[in-house]
Symmetry: C2
Subunit: 198 residues, 2 copies
């Protein structure tokens, strides 16, 4: 396309973002170059700053710019259950509900033998350490509801059982506003088998 | 949402991109932080580099990292027509057709009284200078086909006429694959009045 090299490089770099193809990347690049108030410099600094300042919470592996994350510094939450999630976005989704007052443990992945990811690639050892030193009233496994998330949940249950801690799994069933007609069979089967007295 | 400050800042900065809301920005930020091979650093450098190295071609105001752009350094193109476009993406669109062998003149805007943009806010003075020193065989006005683009085209025609240069306007009509049934009335009227012997 005969673009100047620095522009080509910016387009190539932006193209690596998820959901951004070459066309969108070009549009974004032109926008960034035209934008006032030193936007390019601001974004550049924000990238470097986020990358260098952010790390994982020593206790739960949530993102933080400190030793402990915003959840773990709140000691009133330490007596609650521990909720195990796959990723930081999953943690944030649960935080947004405002219904959970315990702490988290972020695995940073799921067991996925096909992709060569085993239990040792997850933050599981630190979970066991945590459970040994502080016994929570409950362990809520909130990995995603799919083959890999389910396998990971089963694995954690097996590993944790000897410690005598109550283990639960987030409920599967029909989502709010879900239409029975259009739901997949597995979700509907689970909703049936998981029915509760009413 | 209680995100660490550096992450908040990155999300806010990414949210300024066109078509990127807070949710997408958060997703992009997590992607960037997780991505290997120093992606954050690479993107950050590409931004700064593009911003500092890129400028406008002295002759036609296309983007370049030199004094003249890739089109203007090719002196074989200097004898061809001059094509006037609103923006660099428009120039690139015409270059992609491979059907134009002249040079360009990028206005960097259109006359838009409602947004307070007058002729003096465009790169029009340098166009007049160019036309006085080198008389091109033709001036093709390729501003977009809308109220502002049309008004700008008319204005340029009026200003250029005294110089005795042939002025043309890109054709309006039915786009390839266009269905008469679904076209707007104005396009269809234009296609009718612009009909050619067949």
């Amino acid at each position: 396309m005969n673009l100047p090299v620095p522009l080509e490089r910016l387009v190539a770099s932006l193209s690596r973002l998820p959901g951004v193809g070459e066309k969108t990347a070009t549009r974004l690049a032109f926008y960034i170059l035209r934008e006032k108030n030193n936007y390019a410099e601001e974004l550049s600094a924000a990238l470097l700053d986020a990358k260098s300042a952010l790390r994982y919470c020593r206790r739960c592996h949530h993102l933080t710019d400190n030793d402990l994350c915003v959840v773990c510094v709140d000691t009133t939450r330490h007596s609650g259950p521990i909720c195990i999630v796959e990723s930081v976005p999953d943690l944030l989704a649960i935080e947004r509900t405002g219904d959970f007052s315990g702490t988290y443990h972020v695995l940073h992945g799921v067991i996925a033998p096909l992709r060569g990811i085993g239990p040792d690639d997850l933050r599981l050892r630190s979970l066991i350490e945590r459970l040994k030193t502080s016994a929570p009233p409950e362990l809520i496994i909130a990995t995603n509801v799919g083959v890999e998330g389910e396998a990971t949940a089963l694995y954690i249950k097996k590993v944790v059982q000897p410690l005598g801690i109550r283990v639960s799994r987030i409920a599967t069933g029909i989502p709010m506003g879900g239409d029975l007609e259009y739901l997949d069979q597995i979700t509907l089967s689970r909703a049936l088998s998981g029915r509760r007295d009413f």
